[in-house]
Amino acid sequence: MEIGLNHYLVLSTILFAIGLIGVLKRKNLLLLFFATEILLNSVNVAFAAISHYHGDLTGQMFAFFVIAIAASEVAVGLGLLIVWHKRHSNIDLDQMSSMKG
């Protein structure tokens, strides 16, 4: 019953697959952002597991930078969504097929 590195990698892969299904399936842009958060978190789990089982701190450093990128992505993405919602009053992905603004 020893938990090894492969357990964590398999878990990370399952979470990544769930997030990827969400990205492909969602039509509302807010819920598509939720799915991207799941993707980033699954990669963080893999980084922390590799960092633990190899006795190296580089994985945790990359996890920190991934968290910073996720936070800034949320800020910029929600700002853009607010601008879009003011103009078109919906945030459906199908309405964004043309880039005429």
């Binding site: 990698l9 892969t13 509302n28 939720f34 960092s51 701190l57 580089t58 945790q60 996720a70 929600l78």
Partner: protein, 187 residues
């Protein structure tokens, strides 16, 4: 033994929560399930001995990111039922499995092929937070500062995008109530 029990328990909970997030049709359920999943993800970090990373995960994700998403949910009025994209399910499933297998190969290929040695090995007798501080402020100082600049840019862009009438100065405008009250005091 306890590590195995904790791993399987939190793995089950995390997968369940994220599955609810992806599949539910209510935006509120998706938000709460995502917040719970973030907390359960931090449990893995605590199991793996990355205490500081777990604390940062709780603070950043379930504090800041979830608050932003809650604001977005209230702003966008997503209380109604969500319509899903009507695509071919087999294509979506096949692409997801393919991409997941690709990720496993990316992670597993260097481990199988080569003996990895620790670049910055963990020092004995020092807590995780101190280790993180020592490595982050010596070896990763420049990426740390670049990340700080990136967060500043994101903050400014968020303010500029979400606010209105940024070209008109609010403090220099003529009809300001503070100046009127000041006039009333002097006269």
């Amino acid at each position: 033994m306890f590590e195995a029990i904790a791993f399987y328990l939190f793995a089950f909970l995390t997968i369940t929560m994220f599955y609810i997030t992806v599949t539910t049709s209510q935006a509120l359920h998706a938000l709460t399930a995502l917040a719970a999943g973030m907390i359960f993800i931090s449990a893995f970090f605590f199991i793996l001995g990355a205490d500081f990373l777990g604390a940062v995960q709780i603070v950043v994700y379930s504090g800041a990111v979830m608050a932003l998403y809650a604001f977005g949910m209230m702003f966008f009025d997503t209380t109604r039922e969500l319509k899903e994209k009507q695509g071919n399910k087999y294509i979506i499933f096949g692409l997801s499995v393919l991409a997941a297998v690709l990720v496993v190969l990316i992670f597993a290929a260097p481990m199988v092929s080569d003996n990895i040695t620790a670049l910055y090995p963990m020092t004995e007798g020092v807590g995780n937070t101190q280790e993180v501080g020592m490595v982050l402020f010596t070896k990763y100082l420049v990426p740390f500062e670049v990340a700080a600049i990136m967060l500043l840019v994101a903050m400014i862009s968020g303010i500029v995008l979400a606010s209105k009438q940024m070209d008109v100065s609010q403090t220099l405008s003529k009809d300001e109530p503070i100046q009127e009250s000041k006039k009333g005091v002097t006269s």
